[in-house]
Amino acid sequence: MAATLSTLAYLVAAVLFILALRGLSHPETSRRGNLFGMVGMAIAILATLLRPGMATGGIGLIVLALAIGGGIGAYIATRIQMTALPQLVAAFHSLVGMAAVFVAAAAFYAPESFGIGHAGDIHGGSLVEMSLGLAIGAITFSGSVIAFAKLQALMSGAPITFKGQHWLNLGLGILLLVLVVAFVASGSAALFWAIAILSFALGFLLIIPIGGADMPVVVSMLNSYSGWAAAGIGFTLGNLLLIVTGALVGASGAILSYIMCKGMNRSIINVLLGGFGTDTSAAGAVAGAGGDRGPVKAGSPEDAAYIMKNAAKIIVVPGYGMAVAQAQQVLREMGDLLKKEGAQVEYAIHPVAGRMPGHMNVLLAEANVPYDDVKELEEINPEFAEADVAYVIGANDVTNPAAKTDKASPIYGMPILDVERAKTVFFVKRGMSSGYAGVDNELFFRPNTMMLFGDAKKVTQEIVQALQK
């Protein structure tokens, strides 16, 4: 295929990718959007394979690589549990990062293939772009591996901090810049790999201080990085499709990170510096012990079932605890039974509920909850005042009124779901422990709150049984 034709094919693929994202503006058009994405990718791969100068043996190798990788990817994607989605996405990001590193290496050893000079004599501009793609790719790889390990509970989700951490990262960042400058000046292979190794270390160090519940931001940010890495490689190879796609993905991840940060009223810098939720727990415990509060009212699932049976409007507030307990199916059963009783049942989703953007929506969709019943924070908040029951399952900080009233609280200013306005609030929790931010939730002590202690799935199951009687 002539160069003009393949460039045209890339343009078509780029447009299809844009349409794929466009389709996600509504669930009805989303499946077609995903199809556009697949077609775009197929066009891009075929157009590249048909370019002049491709050796038959090389094509054989590529088909083999695509078959092995595609087989593995398809196998994993068809079998993965929806609750494991965040770690799957993190793992996939790491692969994009590593692929970027490999492509940068390939371009370094065979610059003729991409028309950027000759081995040992690559154009200076191309070296700059190559080192950018390489460094971002390597950071994406090791950062995503850590995010994966934290989400998969292979390592503790608690922030890992040590003295001088930020200075170390800053020093390594400056060293990285120095290496890039030296690499561009000399074009040496040793410096190429030094940049790679330093970037791997930096990605690792950047993510370890960030705690488990901040993972939605980290996953979105790494999503963004994988896009910028692709764009960097696109600049190196002078490939328009890579640049356009990289920019789309980079922008998408950046927007998601912004939405997540806004959902916690924290700046991206604050999240990246990490260590959140470690030093505040002591203060929270003291306040809890010394506070003058009413007794905690604990109820049984039968009590809850009785109250909900007589309710006209029920709002369910799911959080990460629901995902951990795999309670989404039984939660939908409860919703169906209550609807049969004539109640209106809706679901309220906080932007940072779960471990990745939109995590709760996918889990509820998996349990066949119609998406019209699932509402975002701004939409549902005015409705809590008319609700008879708020059923909070596995969420805590996102309902804490301290975010509005207590200026000293680490979650002050965070938008919350106004569950306190409902006539009765049920909290399904395993114990009285505080949430991720390490602050007590004063709602537990309110007279209209009833605690349902136990596993989220088990408690909800018992309510379902009581409702069926």
Binding site: Y10, I18, P27, M41, L49, L248, S252, P370
Partner: protein, 133 residues
Amino acid sequence: MNPTDLANQASAQAQRALELAQQARLLAEAHVAPVAAAADPFLFLLTIFLLACFVGYYVVWNVTPALHSPLMGVTNAISSVIVVGAILATGLGESLAAQVFGFFAAMLAAVNIFGGFIVTRRMLAMFQPKKRG
């Protein structure tokens, strides 16, 4: 006309042709140079990049929050378009090292392409509208 004269004339003609060609080249360069400078390849790529960032910005703000997880799935899959670079490195076969790196890059990217699109399709298939009645 003897062969020597013929050869001399031919050589003179060839010399003239060469001079003409050189003049033509100089003229062409004089005209083309400013155009080429205006379309500096890097600036051209940067223009595309920035415009694509804006397209991405507006398109992604239109994505409904309920579909943010599928959005990550799709972006993850399409960012593996980096496979194009891997295919060129392996297929053109300029160096063994490049072929090896290209092979592994293509494999990793393929995991993502298939994995990303399939998991997104699974997610999207679950988003059902409210049943009537």
